[in-house]
Amino acid sequence: MKLALSLAVVLAALLAWEYGVLAAEMPEYLLPAPSVIFKKFWQTLPVQMEHLAVTAATTLAGLVMALVAGVALALVVTYVKPLQSVILPLFAAFNGIPKIAIAPLLVTWLGLGAEPKVLLAFLLALFPVFVNAATGLSEIQPDILDLARLFGGTELRIFWKVRLMNAVPYLSDAVKVAFPLALVGSIVGEFIGGNRGVGYLILSAQSNLDTPLVFASLLSITLFTSAGTSAVMLFEKLFLEWRPSRQR
Protein backbone atom coordinates (compact mmCIF):
# COMPACT_ATOMS: atom_id res chain seq x y z
CA MET A 1 0.00 0.00 0.00
CA LYS A 2 2.72 2.42 1.05
CA LEU A 3 4.88 1.19 -1.83
CA ALA A 4 2.04 1.66 -4.30
CA LEU A 5 1.49 5.18 -3.03
CA SER A 6 5.13 6.20 -3.40
CA LEU A 7 5.26 4.61 -6.86
CA ALA A 8 2.20 6.62 -7.86
CA VAL A 9 3.80 9.84 -6.60
CA VAL A 10 7.02 9.15 -8.53
CA LEU A 11 5.08 8.30 -11.66
CA ALA A 12 3.02 11.49 -11.41
CA ALA A 13 6.18 13.57 -10.95
CA LEU A 14 7.82 11.94 -13.98
CA LEU A 15 4.72 12.57 -16.12
CA ALA A 16 4.56 16.20 -15.04
CA TRP A 17 8.26 16.57 -15.81
CA GLU A 18 7.90 14.89 -19.22
CA TYR A 19 4.96 17.01 -20.37
CA GLY A 20 6.15 20.19 -18.65
CA VAL A 21 9.40 20.04 -20.59
CA LEU A 22 7.48 19.35 -23.78
CA ALA A 23 4.98 22.17 -23.25
CA ALA A 24 7.66 24.71 -22.35
CA GLU A 25 9.74 23.64 -25.36
CA MET A 26 12.71 23.36 -23.02
CA PRO A 27 16.01 22.81 -24.87
CA GLU A 28 17.49 19.41 -24.12
CA TYR A 29 20.82 20.77 -22.83
CA LEU A 30 18.97 22.70 -20.09
CA LEU A 31 16.55 20.05 -18.88
CA PRO A 32 16.02 16.83 -20.80
CA ALA A 33 12.73 14.93 -20.50
CA PRO A 34 12.75 11.69 -18.46
CA SER A 35 12.18 9.63 -21.60
CA VAL A 36 15.31 11.12 -23.12
CA ILE A 37 17.29 10.42 -19.95
CA PHE A 38 16.17 6.79 -19.76
CA LYS A 39 16.94 6.29 -23.43
CA LYS A 40 20.40 7.77 -22.94
CA PHE A 41 20.94 5.63 -19.87
CA TRP A 42 20.02 2.52 -21.81
CA GLN A 43 22.23 3.43 -24.78
CA THR A 44 25.26 4.19 -22.61
CA LEU A 45 24.67 1.36 -20.17
CA PRO A 46 28.02 -0.46 -20.72
CA VAL A 47 29.98 2.79 -20.32
CA GLN A 48 27.89 3.76 -17.30
CA MET A 49 28.51 0.45 -15.57
CA GLU A 50 32.22 0.58 -16.33
CA HIS A 51 32.59 3.99 -14.70
CA LEU A 52 30.18 3.12 -11.89
CA ALA A 53 32.29 0.06 -11.08
CA VAL A 54 35.32 2.30 -10.62
CA THR A 55 33.44 4.74 -8.38
CA ALA A 56 31.88 1.90 -6.40
CA ALA A 57 35.26 0.25 -5.84
CA THR A 58 36.79 3.56 -4.68
CA THR A 59 33.88 4.26 -2.36
CA LEU A 60 33.84 0.80 -0.81
CA ALA A 61 37.63 0.77 -0.41
CA GLY A 62 37.48 4.13 1.39
CA LEU A 63 34.58 2.95 3.53
CA VAL A 64 36.24 -0.32 4.55
CA MET A 65 39.47 1.50 5.39
CA ALA A 66 37.49 4.00 7.46
CA LEU A 67 35.76 1.14 9.29
CA VAL A 68 39.05 -0.57 10.12
CA ALA A 69 40.88 2.61 11.12
CA GLY A 70 37.86 4.12 12.90
CA VAL A 71 37.28 1.03 15.03
CA ALA A 72 41.03 0.71 15.74
CA LEU A 73 41.20 4.33 16.90
CA ALA A 74 38.05 3.84 18.96
CA LEU A 75 39.67 0.81 20.62
CA VAL A 76 42.72 2.88 21.52
CA VAL A 77 40.54 5.61 22.99
CA THR A 78 38.44 3.06 24.90
CA TYR A 79 41.30 1.07 26.40
CA VAL A 80 44.13 3.57 26.71
CA LYS A 81 42.39 6.27 28.73
CA PRO A 82 45.43 8.64 28.85
CA LEU A 83 45.44 8.85 25.05
CA GLN A 84 41.82 9.93 25.06
CA SER A 85 42.68 13.53 25.93
CA VAL A 86 45.27 13.56 23.13
CA ILE A 87 43.28 11.95 20.35
CA LEU A 88 39.88 13.54 20.87
CA PRO A 89 40.92 17.23 20.46
CA LEU A 90 43.13 16.31 17.52
CA PHE A 91 40.23 14.59 15.91
CA ALA A 92 37.90 17.49 16.55
CA ALA A 93 40.42 19.85 14.92
CA PHE A 94 40.88 17.46 12.00
CA ASN A 95 37.14 17.31 11.53
CA GLY A 96 37.11 21.10 11.32
CA ILE A 97 39.11 21.00 8.05
CA PRO A 98 36.78 20.73 5.04
CA LYS A 99 38.23 17.62 3.43
CA ILE A 100 36.87 18.59 0.02
CA ALA A 101 39.09 21.67 0.12
CA ILE A 102 42.24 19.57 0.37
CA ALA A 103 41.27 17.35 -2.57
CA PRO A 104 43.44 19.30 -5.09
CA LEU A 105 46.36 18.92 -2.71
CA LEU A 106 45.85 15.16 -2.60
CA VAL A 107 45.99 15.06 -6.39
CA THR A 108 49.24 17.03 -6.32
CA TRP A 109 50.73 14.56 -3.88
CA LEU A 110 49.28 11.30 -5.11
CA GLY A 111 48.71 11.83 -8.83
CA LEU A 112 45.73 11.07 -11.02
CA GLY A 113 45.23 7.39 -10.12
CA ALA A 114 42.87 5.79 -7.61
CA GLU A 115 44.90 6.72 -4.51
CA PRO A 116 43.77 10.34 -3.93
CA LYS A 117 40.15 9.31 -4.51
CA VAL A 118 40.25 6.43 -2.06
CA LEU A 119 42.03 8.65 0.45
CA LEU A 120 39.41 11.36 0.11
CA ALA A 121 36.59 8.83 0.52
CA PHE A 122 38.42 7.42 3.57
CA LEU A 123 38.97 10.81 5.19
CA LEU A 124 35.33 11.81 4.79
CA ALA A 125 34.05 8.51 6.19
CA LEU A 126 36.50 8.22 9.07
CA PHE A 127 34.99 10.70 11.50
CA PRO A 128 31.46 9.29 11.78
CA VAL A 129 32.85 5.76 12.06
CA PHE A 130 35.27 6.72 14.80
CA VAL A 131 32.73 8.67 16.85
CA ASN A 132 30.07 5.96 16.64
CA ALA A 133 32.51 3.14 17.34
CA ALA A 134 33.92 4.94 20.38
CA THR A 135 30.40 5.52 21.71
CA GLY A 136 29.32 1.95 21.00
CA LEU A 137 32.33 0.44 22.74
CA SER A 138 32.02 2.52 25.88
CA GLU A 139 28.38 3.43 26.44
CA ILE A 140 27.36 0.30 28.27
CA GLN A 141 25.20 0.09 31.37
CA PRO A 142 27.77 -0.08 34.21
CA ASP A 143 25.81 -2.89 35.88
CA ILE A 144 26.36 -5.10 32.82
CA LEU A 145 30.11 -4.67 33.09
CA ASP A 146 30.01 -5.28 36.86
CA LEU A 147 28.00 -8.43 36.35
CA ALA A 148 30.37 -9.69 33.65
CA ARG A 149 33.33 -9.15 35.99
CA LEU A 150 31.57 -10.84 38.89
CA PHE A 151 30.99 -13.91 36.74
CA GLY A 152 34.74 -13.97 36.11
CA GLY A 153 34.80 -12.19 32.75
CA THR A 154 38.25 -11.18 31.54
CA GLU A 155 38.70 -7.94 29.58
CA LEU A 156 39.06 -10.00 26.40
CA ARG A 157 35.81 -11.90 26.93
CA ILE A 158 34.05 -8.69 27.88
CA PHE A 159 35.37 -7.09 24.69
CA TRP A 160 34.06 -9.82 22.39
CA LYS A 161 30.79 -10.56 24.11
CA VAL A 162 29.76 -7.19 25.50
CA ARG A 163 31.57 -4.17 24.07
CA LEU A 164 31.76 -5.26 20.44
CA MET A 165 28.18 -6.52 20.42
CA ASN A 166 27.06 -3.26 21.93
CA ALA A 167 28.90 -1.36 19.18
CA VAL A 168 27.28 -3.21 16.25
CA PRO A 169 24.16 -1.02 15.94
CA TYR A 170 26.30 2.09 16.34
CA LEU A 171 28.50 0.90 13.48
CA SER A 172 25.50 0.17 11.34
CA ASP A 173 24.33 3.74 11.94
CA ALA A 174 27.84 4.96 11.15
CA VAL A 175 27.75 3.23 7.77
CA LYS A 176 24.48 4.96 6.94
CA VAL A 177 26.25 8.30 7.30
CA ALA A 178 29.73 7.29 6.13
CA PHE A 179 28.67 5.54 2.92
CA PRO A 180 27.21 8.64 1.20
CA LEU A 181 30.17 10.67 2.48
CA ALA A 182 32.66 8.22 0.98
CA LEU A 183 30.72 8.43 -2.28
CA VAL A 184 31.00 12.22 -2.24
CA GLY A 185 34.74 11.80 -1.66
CA SER A 186 35.13 9.51 -4.68
CA ILE A 187 33.10 11.69 -7.01
CA VAL A 188 34.83 14.92 -6.00
CA GLY A 189 38.15 13.13 -6.48
CA GLU A 190 37.06 12.12 -9.96
CA PHE A 191 35.99 15.69 -10.75
CA ILE A 192 39.47 16.90 -9.98
CA GLY A 193 41.62 14.53 -11.95
CA GLY A 194 41.83 11.31 -13.93
CA ASN A 195 39.65 9.83 -16.63
CA ARG A 196 37.67 7.16 -14.85
CA GLY A 197 34.60 7.01 -12.65
CA VAL A 198 31.10 8.50 -12.69
CA GLY A 199 32.47 11.85 -11.53
CA TYR A 200 34.67 12.00 -14.62
CA LEU A 201 31.74 10.89 -16.81
CA ILE A 202 29.53 13.68 -15.49
CA LEU A 203 32.23 16.29 -15.94
CA SER A 204 33.05 15.29 -19.51
CA ALA A 205 29.35 15.06 -20.44
CA GLN A 206 28.79 18.52 -19.03
CA SER A 207 31.68 20.00 -21.02
CA ASN A 208 30.09 18.55 -24.19
CA LEU A 209 26.75 20.06 -23.17
CA ASP A 210 25.44 16.48 -23.16
CA THR A 211 22.98 17.10 -20.33
CA PRO A 212 21.02 13.85 -20.90
CA LEU A 213 24.26 11.96 -20.22
CA VAL A 214 24.77 13.97 -17.00
CA PHE A 215 21.31 12.91 -15.84
CA ALA A 216 21.85 9.33 -16.95
CA SER A 217 25.03 9.24 -14.83
CA LEU A 218 23.11 10.60 -11.85
CA LEU A 219 20.72 7.72 -12.33
CA SER A 220 23.66 5.28 -12.17
CA ILE A 221 24.82 6.79 -8.89
CA THR A 222 21.31 6.57 -7.48
CA LEU A 223 21.23 2.87 -8.32
CA PHE A 224 24.46 2.41 -6.38
CA THR A 225 23.30 4.35 -3.29
CA SER A 226 20.00 2.44 -3.25
CA ALA A 227 21.93 -0.82 -3.34
CA GLY A 228 24.06 0.38 -0.40
CA THR A 229 21.05 1.50 1.61
CA SER A 230 19.27 -1.79 0.95
CA ALA A 231 22.33 -3.71 2.11
CA VAL A 232 22.38 -1.82 5.43
CA MET A 233 18.64 -2.31 5.85
CA LEU A 234 18.99 -6.03 5.21
CA PHE A 235 21.76 -6.22 7.78
CA GLU A 236 19.58 -4.48 10.36
CA LYS A 237 16.66 -6.75 9.63
CA LEU A 238 18.83 -9.84 9.99
CA PHE A 239 21.01 -8.93 12.94
CA LEU A 240 19.50 -6.00 14.81
CA GLU A 241 16.04 -7.28 15.58
CA TRP A 242 16.69 -6.59 19.23
CA ARG A 243 17.38 -2.89 18.77
CA PRO A 244 15.93 -0.63 21.44
CA SER A 245 14.44 1.61 18.74
CA ARG A 246 12.26 -1.33 17.70
CA GLN A 247 10.90 -1.69 21.19
CA ARG A 248 7.18 -1.13 21.45
Binding site: L147, E241, R243
Partner: protein
Protein backbone atom coordinates in the same frame (compact mmCIF):
# COMPACT_ATOMS: atom_id res chain seq x y z
CA UNK B 1 29.81 -23.09 60.97
CA UNK B 2 32.56 -21.19 59.15
CA UNK B 3 31.82 -17.56 58.40
CA UNK B 4 30.97 -16.83 54.76
CA UNK B 5 30.70 -13.06 54.97
CA UNK B 6 31.97 -10.81 57.65
CA UNK B 7 31.34 -7.08 57.53
CA UNK B 8 32.95 -4.89 60.24
CA UNK B 9 32.39 -1.18 60.85
CA UNK B 10 31.65 -0.65 57.19
CA UNK B 11 31.40 2.94 56.07
CA UNK B 12 30.59 4.22 52.60
CA UNK B 13 30.63 7.88 51.68
CA UNK B 14 29.50 9.19 48.31
CA UNK B 15 30.23 12.68 47.04
CA UNK B 16 27.13 14.18 48.60
CA UNK B 17 26.27 11.89 51.47
CA UNK B 18 27.19 9.16 53.89
CA UNK B 19 25.28 6.08 52.74
CA UNK B 20 26.49 3.55 55.31
CA UNK B 21 28.01 4.31 58.68
CA UNK B 22 29.27 1.59 60.97
CA UNK B 23 27.50 -1.45 59.54
CA UNK B 24 28.59 -4.80 60.98
CA UNK B 25 27.12 -8.25 60.48
CA UNK B 26 28.12 -11.83 59.82
CA UNK B 27 26.69 -14.49 57.57
CA UNK B 28 27.59 -18.13 58.19
CA UNK B 29 28.32 -20.50 55.35
CA UNK B 30 25.11 -22.09 54.00
CA UNK B 31 23.05 -19.51 55.81
CA UNK B 32 20.12 -17.70 54.22
CA UNK B 33 20.09 -14.12 55.46
CA UNK B 34 17.59 -11.39 54.67
CA UNK B 35 18.50 -7.72 54.74
CA UNK B 36 15.65 -5.27 55.32
CA UNK B 37 15.56 -1.55 55.87
CA UNK B 38 13.96 1.67 54.66
CA UNK B 39 14.53 2.82 51.08
CA UNK B 40 17.89 4.53 50.63
CA UNK B 41 19.47 3.02 53.75
CA UNK B 42 22.28 1.42 51.77
CA UNK B 43 21.11 -2.15 51.10
CA UNK B 44 22.08 -2.21 47.43
CA UNK B 45 25.36 -0.50 48.24
CA UNK B 46 26.08 -3.15 50.89
CA UNK B 47 25.50 -5.95 48.39
CA UNK B 48 27.77 -4.29 45.83
CA UNK B 49 30.51 -3.89 48.43
CA UNK B 50 30.17 -7.51 49.60
CA UNK B 51 30.40 -8.63 45.95
CA UNK B 52 33.57 -6.61 45.56
CA UNK B 53 32.07 -4.35 42.91
CA UNK B 54 32.47 -1.26 45.03
CA UNK B 55 35.14 -0.20 47.54
CA UNK B 56 34.19 0.62 51.13
CA UNK B 57 35.32 4.05 52.35
CA UNK B 58 36.46 2.36 55.52
CA UNK B 59 35.85 -0.83 57.45
CA UNK B 60 36.49 -4.42 56.58
CA UNK B 61 34.69 -6.93 54.39
CA UNK B 62 35.70 -10.57 54.18
CA UNK B 63 34.23 -13.32 52.03
CA UNK B 64 35.20 -16.95 52.77
CA UNK B 65 37.94 -15.64 55.03
CA UNK B 66 39.60 -13.45 52.41
CA UNK B 67 39.52 -9.68 52.39
CA UNK B 68 37.37 -8.53 49.48
CA UNK B 69 39.32 -6.35 47.07
CA UNK B 70 37.75 -7.17 43.72
CA UNK B 71 34.89 -9.20 42.27
CA UNK B 72 34.39 -12.17 44.62
CA UNK B 73 34.99 -15.58 43.08
CA UNK B 74 32.04 -17.99 42.77
CA UNK B 75 29.60 -15.26 43.66
CA UNK B 76 26.56 -14.27 41.65
CA UNK B 77 24.27 -11.32 41.92
CA UNK B 78 20.73 -10.43 40.99
CA UNK B 79 20.51 -6.65 40.71
CA UNK B 80 17.48 -4.62 41.62
CA UNK B 81 16.93 -4.12 37.85
CA UNK B 82 17.20 -7.15 35.51
CA UNK B 83 20.39 -5.99 33.67
CA UNK B 84 20.05 -8.28 30.66
CA UNK B 85 21.97 -8.02 27.39
CA UNK B 86 19.38 -6.64 24.96
CA UNK B 87 20.87 -8.49 21.98
CA UNK B 88 20.61 -11.90 23.61
CA UNK B 89 17.53 -14.08 23.82
CA UNK B 90 16.45 -15.64 27.12
CA UNK B 91 18.49 -18.84 26.92
CA UNK B 92 21.59 -17.06 25.74
CA UNK B 93 21.23 -14.41 28.47
CA UNK B 94 21.20 -17.20 31.06
CA UNK B 95 24.25 -18.81 29.46
CA UNK B 96 26.11 -15.49 29.58
CA UNK B 97 27.26 -16.39 33.11
CA UNK B 98 29.02 -19.53 31.84
CA UNK B 99 30.59 -17.70 28.93
CA UNK B 100 32.05 -15.02 31.19
CA UNK B 101 33.45 -17.73 33.45
CA UNK B 102 35.20 -19.11 30.34
CA UNK B 103 33.11 -22.28 30.19
CA UNK B 104 31.65 -23.81 27.06
CA UNK B 105 27.99 -22.72 27.01
CA UNK B 106 26.97 -26.07 25.49
CA UNK B 107 27.83 -27.82 28.76
CA UNK B 108 25.34 -25.62 30.64
CA UNK B 109 22.51 -25.65 28.15
CA UNK B 110 20.57 -28.41 29.92
CA UNK B 111 20.91 -26.75 33.32
CA UNK B 112 19.87 -23.41 31.83
CA UNK B 113 16.75 -25.00 30.33
CA UNK B 114 15.91 -26.61 33.67
CA UNK B 115 16.13 -23.25 35.42
CA UNK B 116 14.02 -21.64 32.72
CA UNK B 117 11.29 -24.23 33.26
CA UNK B 118 11.63 -23.92 37.04
CA UNK B 119 11.01 -20.17 36.90
CA UNK B 120 8.04 -20.56 34.58
CA UNK B 121 9.75 -19.10 31.53
CA UNK B 122 9.39 -22.16 29.28
CA UNK B 123 8.20 -21.10 25.87
CA UNK B 124 10.12 -17.85 26.14
CA UNK B 125 13.65 -19.26 25.59
CA UNK B 126 13.94 -17.46 22.28
CA UNK B 127 12.51 -14.08 23.15
CA UNK B 128 14.55 -10.93 23.42
CA UNK B 129 14.40 -9.04 26.74
CA UNK B 130 12.24 -6.31 25.24
CA UNK B 131 9.67 -8.96 24.42
CA UNK B 132 9.40 -10.00 28.08
CA UNK B 133 7.56 -8.33 30.94
CA UNK B 134 9.54 -6.76 33.78
CA UNK B 135 8.89 -9.71 36.07
CA UNK B 136 9.91 -12.18 33.38
CA UNK B 137 13.13 -10.26 32.76
CA UNK B 138 13.86 -10.42 36.47
CA UNK B 139 13.35 -14.20 36.41
CA UNK B 140 15.84 -14.48 33.54
CA UNK B 141 18.34 -12.62 35.73
CA UNK B 142 17.63 -15.09 38.56
CA UNK B 143 18.26 -18.07 36.26
CA UNK B 144 21.50 -16.48 35.13
CA UNK B 145 22.64 -16.00 38.73
CA UNK B 146 21.82 -19.62 39.61
CA UNK B 147 23.41 -21.18 36.53
CA UNK B 148 26.91 -21.72 37.93
CA UNK B 149 25.79 -22.88 41.39
CA UNK B 150 27.44 -19.91 43.13
CA UNK B 151 28.70 -20.45 46.66
CA UNK B 152 27.60 -16.91 47.45
CA UNK B 153 24.32 -15.66 46.05
CA UNK B 154 23.54 -11.95 46.43
CA UNK B 155 20.00 -10.94 45.58
CA UNK B 156 18.68 -7.39 45.54
CA UNK B 157 14.89 -7.49 45.72
CA UNK B 158 14.82 -10.27 43.12
CA UNK B 159 11.05 -10.71 43.35
CA UNK B 160 10.21 -7.01 43.44
CA UNK B 161 8.60 -7.01 40.00
CA UNK B 162 6.47 -10.13 40.52
CA UNK B 163 2.82 -10.58 41.41
CA UNK B 164 2.03 -12.02 44.87
CA UNK B 165 1.40 -15.58 43.70
CA UNK B 166 4.47 -15.84 41.46
CA UNK B 167 6.50 -14.17 44.15
CA UNK B 168 5.48 -16.78 46.72
CA UNK B 169 6.16 -19.62 44.32
CA UNK B 170 9.59 -18.24 43.39
CA UNK B 171 10.42 -17.82 47.07
CA UNK B 172 9.72 -21.48 47.81
CA UNK B 173 11.59 -22.48 44.67
CA UNK B 174 14.58 -20.48 45.86
CA UNK B 175 14.34 -22.17 49.27
CA UNK B 176 14.42 -25.58 47.57
CA UNK B 177 17.41 -24.72 45.37
CA UNK B 178 19.21 -23.30 48.38
CA UNK B 179 18.55 -26.39 50.49
CA UNK B 180 19.85 -28.61 47.69
CA UNK B 181 22.98 -26.64 46.85
CA UNK B 182 23.70 -25.32 50.34
CA UNK B 183 25.07 -22.04 49.12
CA UNK B 184 25.09 -18.84 51.14
CA UNK B 185 22.38 -16.34 50.34
CA UNK B 186 22.20 -12.65 51.21
CA UNK B 187 18.79 -11.44 50.19
CA UNK B 188 17.47 -7.87 50.19
CA UNK B 189 13.71 -7.48 50.36
CA UNK B 190 11.09 -4.91 51.30
CA UNK B 191 8.65 -7.58 52.37
CA UNK B 192 8.83 -8.52 56.04
CA UNK B 193 6.85 -11.70 55.43
CA UNK B 194 9.18 -12.79 52.67
CA UNK B 195 12.23 -12.04 54.82
CA UNK B 196 10.99 -14.13 57.73
CA UNK B 197 9.56 -16.89 55.55
CA UNK B 198 12.79 -17.57 53.69
CA UNK B 199 15.65 -16.69 55.98
CA UNK B 200 17.62 -18.03 58.94
CA UNK B 201 18.01 -14.53 60.25
CA UNK B 202 16.83 -11.06 59.36
CA UNK B 203 19.18 -8.10 59.57
CA UNK B 204 17.26 -4.87 60.08
CA UNK B 205 19.01 -1.67 59.02
CA UNK B 206 18.44 1.90 60.24
CA UNK B 207 17.50 4.71 57.86
CA UNK B 208 20.43 6.32 56.02
CA UNK B 209 23.25 6.28 57.02
CA UNK B 210 22.68 2.54 57.37
CA UNK B 211 23.73 0.50 60.37
CA UNK B 212 22.51 -2.86 61.64
CA UNK B 213 19.77 -1.97 64.09
CA UNK B 214 18.69 -5.48 65.01
CA UNK B 215 19.29 -9.08 64.04
CA UNK B 216 16.24 -11.31 64.35
CA UNK B 217 17.07 -15.05 64.27
CA UNK B 218 14.40 -17.13 62.57
CA UNK B 219 14.38 -20.67 63.89
CA UNK B 220 11.31 -22.01 62.12
CA UNK B 221 11.42 -25.57 60.84
CA UNK B 222 12.24 -26.19 57.18
CA UNK B 223 11.08 -26.71 54.55
CA UNK B 224 8.66 -23.85 55.04
CA UNK B 225 5.52 -23.64 52.98
CA UNK B 226 2.23 -21.78 52.81
CA UNK B 227 1.32 -23.39 56.14
CA UNK B 228 4.20 -21.60 57.83
CA UNK B 229 2.44 -18.31 57.16
CA UNK B 230 -0.20 -19.26 59.76
CA UNK B 231 2.28 -20.52 62.36
CA UNK B 232 1.97 -18.31 65.49
CA UNK B 233 5.77 -18.35 65.84
CA UNK B 234 6.02 -16.97 62.29
CA UNK B 235 3.50 -14.23 62.99
CA UNK B 236 5.39 -13.30 66.13
CA UNK B 237 8.71 -13.08 64.27
CA UNK B 238 7.15 -10.83 61.64
CA UNK B 239 5.91 -8.57 64.40
CA UNK B 240 9.39 -8.52 65.93
CA UNK B 241 10.95 -7.44 62.61
CA UNK B 242 8.28 -4.80 62.11
CA UNK B 243 8.96 -3.55 65.61
CA UNK B 244 12.67 -3.27 64.85
CA UNK B 245 12.20 -1.38 61.57
Amino acid sequence: MPTAISVRSLQKTFARQIAIDGLSFEVDANEFVALVGPSGCGKSTTLRIVAGLERPSSGMVRASGETVDGPVRNAAMVFQAPVLLPWRRTLSNVLFAAEMRGKRPGAFRERAKELIVLTGLDGFEHNYPHELSGGMQQRVAICRALLLDPTLLLMDEPFGALDVMTREKMGFELQRIWSETKNTVLFVTHSITEAVLLSDKVIVMTPRPGRAKAVVPVDLARPRDVGTLKDPAFVELCAAVREAL
